[in-house]
Symmetry: C2
Subunit: 424 residues, 2 copies
Amino acid sequence: MEITTGILADLFVLFVAARLAGTLFARLKQPAVIGELLVGVLIGPHVLGWVGTPDPAMVEAFHGDAAAAQAAVSLVFDLFAELGVIILLFFVGLETRLSDLLGVGGRAIAVGALGIAAPFAAGYAFMVLRGTTTTEALFVATALVATSSGITARVLRDLGILHAREARIILGAAIVDDVLAMILLATVNQFGPRGRLDVLEIGLIAAQAVGFIVFVVLIGTRTLRQFSAHLERLPFTHAPLVVALAMMLGLATIAGAVGLAAIIGAFLAGMVMAQEAERFALEDAVVPIYEFLVPFFFVIIGTRVDPALFLDGRVMGGALAITVVAIIAKLAGAGLGGLGLGGRAAAIIGVGMVPRGEVGLIVASLGLSRGLIGAEYFSTVVVMSILTTLIVPPLLAWLGAPLVRQPGPTRGERMGAAGRLPQM
Amino acid sequence: MEITTGILADLFVLFVAARLAGTLFARLKQPAVIGELLVGVLIGPHVLGWVGTPDPAMVEAFHGDAAAAQAAVSLVFDLFAELGVIILLFFVGLETRLSDLLGVGGRAIAVGALGIAAPFAAGYAFMVLRGTTTTEALFVATALVATSSGITARVLRDLGILHAREARIILGAAIVDDVLAMILLATVNQFGPRGRLDVLEIGLIAAQAVGFIVFVVLIGTRTLRQFSAHLERLPFTHAPLVVALAMMLGLATIAGAVGLAAIIGAFLAGMVMAQEAERFALEDAVVPIYEFLVPFFFVIIGTRVDPALFLDGRVMGGALAITVVAIIAKLAGAGLGGLGLGGRAAAIIGVGMVPRGEVGLIVASLGLSRGLIGAEYFSTVVVMSILTTLIVPPLLAWLGAPLVRQPGPTRGERMGAAGRLPQM
């Protein structure tokens, strides 16, 4: 048996489980994402252990080092989750015009900025009141700030309301949010251990991130417009799709390299291609890749959840408290940014920014590995990430339902050859 | 920076390099595969080192264990190469009717069986004449037998002659070849170390493999026929594509688990779906996944090549000799199976079966890790695998050119939305 057979078996089980659970939840009129997340928890290494554990052949390939083999399997899972969410945000980008975002630019900045400030302030105050060190309070507060836009984007797309103003504000705010969260992390990361700040260094990091975004949006859009006439004439098969995929991988990599989330790069790549998407039927072409890879993101996120955490009373007390802080502060901050759009719109925007997903985990892992936060607060952040991620799909589906135009045709209907409407 | 950014950067570089080199070679009227393989050698860890080496973040994630981090990166590369060739053979399966193969069944069995027997006998004789141990002779001879059908399938598809009789015979023979090679490996693997055979065990292994293939072909085809009316009505998006991908991953996994190559399972999955492919526009749907993942196979194979091997005179003497034995024996055996079809047809079939690719490497690695063959013969097999793989695309393109119907429309032309003809 080849060494990759075990991993291949994992991918097969993940794929089938995600599709079955998603379908079951859609049948029950629940968001499919919830089914995919929960089945991930079930088949993951913490419960049934059907996936995510290296088989003997893999351990042998790592010279019997089970921990290294486990880390390698986790790396493969991380990569497939990342690829899935990259394709997802790239696809969402393809459905988003730059003008859509610029039209709500002010709102998006307000939502993004307030959605960062409120959870940070609330988290810091909460921790200090519990009597932790300044460093620990800073790190946990930072872990509370960043929104993970994958879940929200998926729910909005499944509902077919990506073009609603609320959705555009959320997408714009997600970019602002990620930039600010990254700058905040860099700041805390310096200040925490050193107790002082190198303002120049922070400024450079911020300038790099903002410069990347502005460069891609301005220069990318312009270059593509000049280049697109040649795109069809490139001497290889399906040139527009190939160029789009290369841009997606490239900008995702660069975004990651300048400290942003890779999905921000993928989203920008999609948005830059959006102007040519219709001409080259790019959305149709990306759908099969979406169907193959995107479910991996949600089911793999599920596999990382250890339900035992929720049975540990010592962790859960603080975790629930901080989760409530995280939810209320984000709702208040982001919702405040949406003030004046009406109650439902502000609520959708607020709820849409609640999921913390993997971003909080990355901050917490960083703090834990450097000994800046204790294991208890690490678990706290893990629980907070899980809960903020799990509560959003049903809430958002419920809040967003009135925005779904019935029975108008959605983009999904025009999309696949033998497809059906995307189901929620 | 997240830990997957380094791997993402590798995927980006691999993707772009493969597409650029493939395009360049197509422009020079050379097979694109050659460009993809060679650029892989160039950017791989043995030459420029642009890809395939873990970055510091990755090493840190493996607690500073650079060897484990390297093994993890190699695992990811293996997996992407495997996924690429699985998609390739699945796609080739979609273009192959069961009746196409059954119509050339006798020929395929003759080509497959003689194409195994001749290299094994020639390799064994060659090794014994060089005075090696029986075990070593058996292992090296076994490493010479198995054909890796990925390269040939790609060249035939790029030429647009997958439906020529020669191509169908090669595809059928590749299945026979893989079953026989697997049984041979199991036999040698027992006999080598133990000096005796458990015929019952070998029989069980053989029965399992043959049973899997017969079961998939007979039961799978029949079940799908009954099930296909429901396929469109499944309650999720793009149900036929999703079911096809699940079958592809599932049968590839099972093939791997019963000791066959995973690509045999993927090919069978494609062939079973072929009867419904037109109805559900499955080929169109798989093309974008093909464009995304298949190039990884060829460029990653390239990254594994260490050109320094070719500068080592001590290795190269024996390696060239055994490569010549491997080529001539396969040409003679497989060509003999094609006797009576005409010189060009027999030559195409013979050459099409020559590439050994990764199959020989797996056998050789097994022998090396158990101390049954020495490092010198391991390198010999590596060189043989590389050379047999590299010489085939230009030869096959040259031999196959007259079969390309000019200027009749190929399937490629009907395929993608914004696509161009596949180029060679």
